[in-house]
Symmetry: C2
Subunit: 215 residues, 2 copies
């Protein structure tokens, strides 16, 4: 039963997408190891799950593309890789459960094991903090959207944009990122999310002051 | 002698480039007004100069494109706009000097008037702080470069990258942005630059900790 190595994992990822590239995988891997030690999880399962979690079809593009099912195709790929390496079935299933559950959105595949909860938390933590700001800004830029645009009152109240209103990285923060800290499953994940949430909030407050010329 | 208005200025800029778009012009305008009040400058000159400073050929692309001379073509455009609005020659020249000097790199066209020094400072301040981080990250993403890559020892010592070393937004910070605070001309600009420099430095330190999984 050979482990999954970083060098091997690197070959499964293309770096075409700066938001779900191998750097993201490495950060999730490191964060998962950090949380795994704090929570007393199985680090071998976590390592394989983190390095394999986006290994197939992870390029973004909303609900119309393969990305919608990337957790399923990545779990299938994990199954074939780990079988070849002689992993026992129960451990392969444990890794596959982590990968399937990392995309949990309140319906199918909730994380049920400690390792699945940690992988979920580690993946979500990567949209908070300074790296969360950076990923959201990069994504907006690639999508032709600005870093900052003043949100309309309607957007602030309902989350629905006015006709022609841009979806700036600040809109994405208001719409999605600021709620992420409430989705954590583990205590260690929650504590880290609170810190990184505070950093991200401060970043957008500073950005807003600078845009308004207040400071 | 009619003033230049924001609504009018907006028509001179295309928003194709998220780094030198009209949002940048508006921030420079607001910062220049803020510094101009603190320094006792001519706010009318400053307003026209800030709103016109990137009005021609400002899309980036290094030394091979028109951007190299965008200060000259923008100053010429300012001359024709302000002449049409009945501005006297000495005021037009004052505005043109601001625009020509905003690209000063240690050789031609140093800023010689208070207004030119303020426009220079306001333009450079827009690469510091949270907005500086955002612009640098967006620019890197559009150029296919990562937000963060560990710089080589050679890059840290000489500024020359190893073969294949990416030019991440952190490389750009080390190579260029961290020196900007020392180029300010006015006392008010220098004070604001110190604050925004400290913010940007802290941002990259936080990013580095997150990438390394230390926090």
């Amino acid at each position: 039963m050979e482990p999954i190595t970083i060098e091997e994992a690197r070959t499964w990822y293309r770096d075409a997408d700066p938001v779900h590239d191998f750097d993201h995988v490495l950060r999730v891997y490191r964060t998962a190891q950090h949380l795994g030690k704090l929570e007393g999880a199985d680090l071998e399962i976590l390592q394989a799950a983190a390095l394999l979690h986006d290994s197939r079809d992870s390029a973004p593009g909303g609900e119309t593309t393969l990305r919608k099912d990337h957790h399923i195709t990545s779990a299938e790929f994990a199954g074939s890789v780990l079988t070849q390496k002689g992993w026992p079935k129960d451990k392969i299933h444990a890794v596959q459960h982590c990968i399937l559950a990392h995309r949990f959105r309140g319906e199918e595949n909730p994380p049920q094991t400690l390792e699945a909860k940690i992988l979920f938390d580690a993946d979500k933590l990567d949209v908070l903090g300074a790296i969360g700001a950076a990923r959201t800004i990069a994504y907006a830029a690639l999508d032709g959207q600005p870093t900052y645009a003043e949100p309309s009152d309607q957007f602030l109240e309902t989350g629905e944009k006015l006709p022609g209103e841009p979806h700036s990285s600040y809109h994405e923060f208001l719409f999605k990122l600021r709620k992420v800290k409430d989705r954590m499953f583990t205590q260690s994940g929650k504590a880290l999310a609170e810190k990184r949430h505070a950093y991200l909030l401060d970043f957008y407050q500073q950005l807003q002051r600078e845009v308004r010329g207040e400071r």
